[in-house]
Symmetry: D2
Subunit: 382 residues, 4 copies
């Protein structure tokens, strides 16, 4: 099996998400990082390349340079896809250019700075004939896939109630004023877009429930707040949810929930049973039943479906974590690329989040902001 060659935009040494992408890409031994525009400073990009064991001539000072120069390299050397791990405002430009130059793309979420960009990217992906993946990584956890499979098979009956929360506390104080880079761009509308916590984590929550249930949100009523002094973007939000099938629900997300680390959790209730899952302890799925005792499923453990156990790397009881969930997105993306390389058509319903999920996330951001401006009135998401 030959390995796939990856280029990267962003993710210089010290970046959080760039390092996550690199580790996630390497766990399963299918991908080699061969080049990068790790920074908009050529010097910093070179330094990162050196640290990562990449030769100087493959370290670029801009994504434009990278895409153009790589495109001219011989095929056996040339990168095959681009991983985009920049702040939100820098998702659209390199994604579009890479696709148009014949490279597949895997991009961090949310899809883009604006909804217009998202809609344009949907068209670009389609016309490019290239593969595009969005790293809504929480869909990569085996227990999330188990929940999805149980609902798809009807084990829980008709879904009637969906509650989701994503609670962090790292913006409880004004860390953006302390030189913390992660915070600085997230509270800046120029780099984040119109959503703050909403775009950063609310979209994960939205994606997760639609992924697990395969039921679309129909309308939302959102109450967004910027608690932090001087912040123009929300750092907290509460949302009423109505789903296309008549289910109701609630979402709460926050980056000022003091003391919370990365508390993403979901509870989904059907007529026959329910599922409950928490990201911070991801190796268990709590399943409650109308008339049987509560069960705890574990990755690869007794009673799990192939739809989840296929994503488990190690025997039951050996916990997998965030990086493995992330790696699952990369592995599925890599398998798709290998298929395409071998002449298969691009999948219409691939095993990873796509540009369609990305557009949906941007619609969620826009609907929530509009709702909140109108005192939490209902806004349709279709």
């Amino acid at each position: 099996m030959s390995r796939l060659k990856m280029g990267m935009v962003g993710g210089g040494i010290g970046s959080f998400i760039g390092d996550v992408h690199r580790k996630a890409a390497s766990i399963d031994g299918m991908i080699d990082l061969v080049c990068g525009a790790f920074s908009s400073s050529k010097e910093k990009s070179l330094a990162s390349a050196k640290e990562l064991g990449i030769s100087d001539d493959r370290a670029y000072g801009s994504f434009e340079e990278m895409i153009k120069k790589e495109a001219k390299l011989p095929e056996e050397k040339r990168m095959e896809f681009v991983a985009i791990v920049t702040p939100n405002h820098m998702h659209f430009p390199p994604t579009k250019m890479a696709l148009e130059h014949g490279f597949h793309v895997i991009c961090d979420k949310p899809l883009s700075l604006t909804l217009d960009e998202a809609i344009e990217l949907e068209k670009t992906v389609s016309s490019s004939g290239k593969v595009f993946a969005l790293t809504h990584n929480y869909t990569g956890y085996p227990m999330v896939k188990q929940a999805k499979a149980m609902i798809a098979k009807g084990d829980l009956g008709t879904i009637r109630k969906i509650n989701v929360h994503y609670l962090q506390g790292w913006l409880s104080t004004a860390v953006e004023k302390t030189g913390q880079k992660q915070a600085a761009w997230r509270v800046d509308p120029k780099r984040s877009g119109i959503g703050g916590a909403l775009g950063d984590i609310g979209t994960h929550a939205e994606n997760l429930i639609e992924y697990i249930t395969d039921i679309k949100i129909n309308a939302i009523a959102a109450d967004l707040t910027a608690f932090g002094d001087g912040r123009s973007l929300d750092d907290d939000g509460n949302v009423l949810l109505r789903f296309e099938n008549g289910a109701k629900g609630i979402m709460s997300f926050s980056q000022i929930a003091t003391g919370e680390e990365n508390n993403l959790g979901v509870k989904i209730y059907g007529t026959k049973g329910s599922v409950e899952w928490y990201q911070e302890n991801p190796n268990q799925l709590i399943v409650k039943w109308l008339d049987k005792p509560k069960q705890i499923y574990t990755p690869g453990g007794n009673g799990t479906y192939p739809e989840s156990s296929a994503y488990v790397r190690i025997p039951a009881g050996h916990p997998e974590g965030y990086l493995e969930g992330f790696a699952t997105i990369y592995r599925s993306f890599a398998k798709e690329l290998l298929g395409v390389k071998n002449g298969k058509d691009i999948s219409t319903n691939p095993d990873f989040p796509t540009v369609i999920d990305g557009v949906r996330g941007m619609k969620f951001i826009y609907a929530a902001v509009e709702s909140s401006k109108n005192n939490a009135s209902w806004i349709k998401m279709n």
Copy 2:
């Protein structure tokens, strides 16, 4: 210490809440049950009395009979207070009559069938010069009191986010059509009032967060649903919350959350820290901090305040439960009565829920129903 003499309205053998009240009243050895109108059928009331070891002449066929006859008994024999443990529509009449005949009253929640009744009762209590307690029993748990004390002392800083849920699954199917009495009256507007799950458990959630934080809800936007076939009252609700101090939050309650037993939980976030508590495992309070490791407090355990440890009956590590929490309301009520007996004034801010909490609960029900009728528009609660 002489024991207080209690009469009971409702709570015939086989009733859920009547038995709870009796056990709660007896745990601390301060109260004796001496008479009761346990049923509107004299025969059934007699049968219950026999079972409970109460003499036939103190078993009454109606609350009117009980109140009138007891009022004529000599003081050393006469009941001193009435516990009212009937369905909602039967809270107002016996409460009012008992107060007006000089008896103290402890009543199950919600306060009454209608808001008008509640407002009238507030006046009656005031003019009667008698003590009235409402059994919002969840305020009796030591860890709830610990959370309240920590917030009152400012340990958590300014409160900014309050999330609460109360999830049950026992009405997931149409049990009211199977002869289940608990279900039958709860889905019947004539006996329950205008709120279903809203009145039954939503009011507990509302009371709990206002009790713990001492911050009033300012306005709510509620989305109520009757999922059960043919139900006219809500069996599920999701609510956006805005508090008088600027905090925001969310409430979700349900009786169709399949597989849930009695999952009442609360998460409250301040600028310095947060608290998290779950009724099904009530002997721990999870406290998260801005800059210190997460802590777990236990009743009477290390670091607890007198404001909570005073309510602990047994050493740390010996779990107390629902009945003890309930008993704490009874004990505080009993202490108040003993004080009054000994010539103390009635407390203006007693250590148990009062008619004012009851009015507040009714306002919450009415605001939620009005909001929901208006597509979850904001309704003030003041």
Copy 3:
């Protein structure tokens, strides 16, 4: 239903276990405390009686006085049974005397100061024709009874491994030197007997596993330690266990396990499945299976057997605690007494711990001490 009349030996105001017994006796409304020798000081006994609402003439200065004087009272006034809640050295004398004067007895554990006393009491109980109960209260928890029922029905297959621990930290420092009464008698061989933590909590652990599995311990190898400066009795012990059916296991108990409150837990493994239970969160039984997902049973919850749900006082999800488990012993004892009053024979296998369990506990203490003196050699327990 007439109530049973209880006298008490020990348990003056401020005592831990006396108050527990009183609350446990009162929860179910079947028992009235009518008299007591609450202290060996008449004055203190009177003070306690006053506090407890007992008339002065029923407050005695010694158990001898109480037993003799009560025996002369008319039957409708006379106490019917005695609750003995003194330190270990004061279990035997009042138990023996009460039985011989025609009173039933319920006594705290361990049964006696010495094994000889225990063996003598077994005979006295037998010859007295009276009912004797020992308050190994942890057998009263519904989930303990569920575990017992599952094993009895063969759900777990053949039992092969039994691990139990009982860990407390309250003797981590020399609290016995600070005037703490609970500590003072527990470290004193004259009042505790030859076992320290061994007798105080090790016997609970021993009783619990034999109760749940109905399999006897065959032999033990015990390593006891007195970590506390100047202590002559063990405050920590580790024990290898061999069972009559070939199962093996391990026990660890301690009162110097710093930070532990009352951590009693058990894991029992059969050929088909296993059960796991923890006293500090007693309302769940974790059941693991050879080939099915792990389950969590709750009191009165889905799938529980009548053998456990019969002991639940309130609906599933409403936690019961230590007092309720304790109360279950009292309730079963009270039902037995009512039966005997109504002419039934004394049960040969009653629904509460008996003198036989008490003798067994004393044998365990003696075997452990002998083993430990012989460098943890194996000592038979039969």
Copy 4:
């Protein structure tokens, strides 16, 4: 930074632990797998190589062939270290040969088939001037390192009690007779040595407690059992522990603990506090104190020491798992090799388990077997 070149002995496609080693080696981007004797069949080794993207000429049919041929390759191509991932009986031969041919070695545990081999390897490592690491991977978890650091700093005071368990259920039935390869060699003394579960997981438990506490076990009394029909090696064991500093403890391990997956847990009690950790939920360390509330530490979370946070790859709340813990051993080993390559001396106390830990593990196996043969008599481990 140039990457290190790894060869592998064993670990053909389908093997559990081989795949774990490969993923662990690749996560941090410091190591490339360049060759392997993946199977004793040349054909199978070639197939595995193809699957792993390794060229045919680097796939060997035996470790001897690999070591000899690689030794002759030019330095820039030649493997730099060997990872040995075979059953126990095949640890010693390739380790010894590789070291003697100038290759560093990282080897799975236990160190060898026999204690004699282990002692010989200790000498070989010493004389070879090469680096040797043993993959006691559970020492790689950040919360294990946090516990170690807290004890080293004296936060818990003097350690007095150490309880450890490692419970699995996968050998509850005779899976070794079903063609399950993992089971087949583990129950075979020719391939496993004299310990069954003892060597497979007991040694992990032994290593973990000595690693965390830095206190040596002084003597053990072990009761080993082979519950499985026809098994000659233990599949279950219970052990009393005495430590060099006077602490006492207990160990229980099993592979017939039905329903358990990979339940390794440890509780360590000092005079001031205690720590508790479970491998199946590895991202929390429970810390209990003499006089403060219980705390929960998380990797990289509030209050963690640099000694643990240095090993965290992603922000607090993003769970790491088994592969990351394993990868930490590889990363530390790789850093040591890079240091040595750059002229540093070999560390005398490196940041990964060494041959000394391996000898210790073998001594534990031999002491436990001897003790068990002598009816659980005490055997010294020094």
